[in-house]
């Protein structure tokens, strides 16, 4: 039933935004942003449950925890960057939103650097010099 709550919250917020937008565009933006934050906070608990299950699975299956940590970092970066970018985009600042997304991508690539270096090192060792 949580999806009904969330959809209801979204519908109410949409109506409010439409009503307020004519008089006070500023408040309309505030309502939209706070609705986004509320839904995000609501989902954080669920995401936490999923991550716990994942960690449990990885622990049992013997997957190195460092891999899982990397993947979780990536998800976190993606979510946070996406969320911030959308709020900024709602406010009409498309360019800032794209900068935030770019920052998220760069940070994800930074996480990939150690993996890439180790793979390349292994490949170089594989090949006869």
């Amino acid at each position: 039933m949580e999806i009904i709550q969330i959809v209801g919250l979204g519908l109410i917020a949409t109506v409010l935004v439409l009503v307020v937008k004519e008089q006070k565009p500023m408040f309309a933006f505030l309502i939209a942003a706070s609705t986004g934050v509320l839904i995000f906070l609501y989902l954080i608990g669920k995401i936490g449950g999923i991550i716990e299950v994942l960690e449990d699975l990885a622990d049992k299956s013997g997957v190195q925890m460092i891999y899982l940590k990397t993947i979780l970092k990536i998800i976190g970066i993606a979510y946070i960057a996406e969320f911030g970018a959308q709020i900024v985009r709602d406010a009409g600042q498309e360019s800032i939103a794209s900068k935030i997304e770019m920052a998220g991508k760069v940070l994800i690539m930074v996480l990939a650097i150690p993996i890439i270096s180790i793979i390349i090192e292994t490949v170089i060792k594989l090949l006869p010099a």
Partner: protein, 277 residues
């Protein structure tokens, strides 16, 4: 076959997690990047047996790399690492300083030994110089320009005279500290301490020594440290005191040591000193 099963299980779970992650992703914009990193991870897992053959420490290497990159991503504040570097530098500086201090002490002791031998004509067994940094000056330096402004101060000079054979002790009075072969015997061990604040009171005790030799008999036969500040009783008190004062003067002239601050300690005569040790 155990490693094969483990390897397969690892691959399966990594792929499962990767698919799951793909579904979790919020939007298309990030997808390509996330897929790239996840596929790298899968590749790493596939390669893991090969890596085990070629480099045994691949896992540690990876963990170290991750640790550093995550620290760089904002886990630890950079100020902490700066702090650590500063602490390391301070440690190195202290080590260097103490080494320099030890070297300076050795050098000073060597020169003191030469000077004493030259001027008194006595054989000196060894000279030990203890240096310490003056605390007051360290603080003054801190408020000023640079921290390592601490000045070394000679805190203690220990002069051990070469021992003379017991039969020569009888000739001590005539020698009066001049004859090389004789008068060292009574002054078996002379400890000269240059520490104005702490030892000035004791230097008075050393000078009292000439007037009341009997009182020092017990201390002289005891441990050297206990006997500090007292001139040991000897059969030839005058020879010992003259030698001591000679050394005191020498050190005062050459090393800028205040005579008031010089503490002279002598063990008892040779036999007693040996018994004490």
């Amino acid at each position: 076959m155990n490693w094969l099963a483990e390897w397969l299980r690892e691959i399966i779970f990594i792929v499962l997690i990767a698919v799951f992650i793909d579904l979790l992703l919020p939007n298309r914009a990030m997808e390509r990047y996330v897929k790239f990193v996840v596929s790298l991870l899968i590749l790493l897992t596939l390669l893991s047996p090969v890596m085990r053959f070629f480099s045994a420490d691949a896992k540690d290497q990876l963990e170290a790399a991750f640790a550093t990159s995550w620290d760089g991503l904002g886990g630890d504040s950079p100020g902490q690492s700066t702090e650590a570097i500063l602490q390391q530098g301070e440690k190195l500086r202290q080590k260097q300083e103490s080494e320099a201090l030890a070297w300076a002490g050795e050098e000073a002791a060597r020169q003191m030994k030469q000077q004493i031998e030259r001027s008194t004509g006595q054989q000196v067994d060894r000279v030990t110089v203890k240096l310490r940094t003056e605390p007051a000056k360290v603080q003054a330096g801190d408020t000023g320009t640079s921290p390592p402004a601490a000045e070394p101060v000679i805190s203690e000079v220990e002069v051990v005279m070469a021992q003379v054979k017991p039969e020569e002790e009888g000739a001590d009075p005539g020698a009066a500290g001049r004859g090389p072969e004789v008068s060292i015997a009574p002054v078996d061990k002379i400890k000269i301490s240059v520490n104005t604040k702490e030892n000035s009171g004791e230097s008075g005790g050393a000078q009292d020594q000439t007037e009341s030799p009997a009182s020092t008999a017990m201390a002289g036969s005891g441990d050297d440290d206990i006997a500090s500040g007292e001139l040991a009783e000897s059969r030839d008190q005058s020879a010992a005191t003259s030698l001591v004062s000679q050394i005191e003067e020498l050190l005062q002239q050459n090393w800028g040591v205040d005579k008031e601050a010089v503490m002279v300690i002598g063990a008892a005569n040779l036999n007693e000193a040996n018994a004490g040790r």
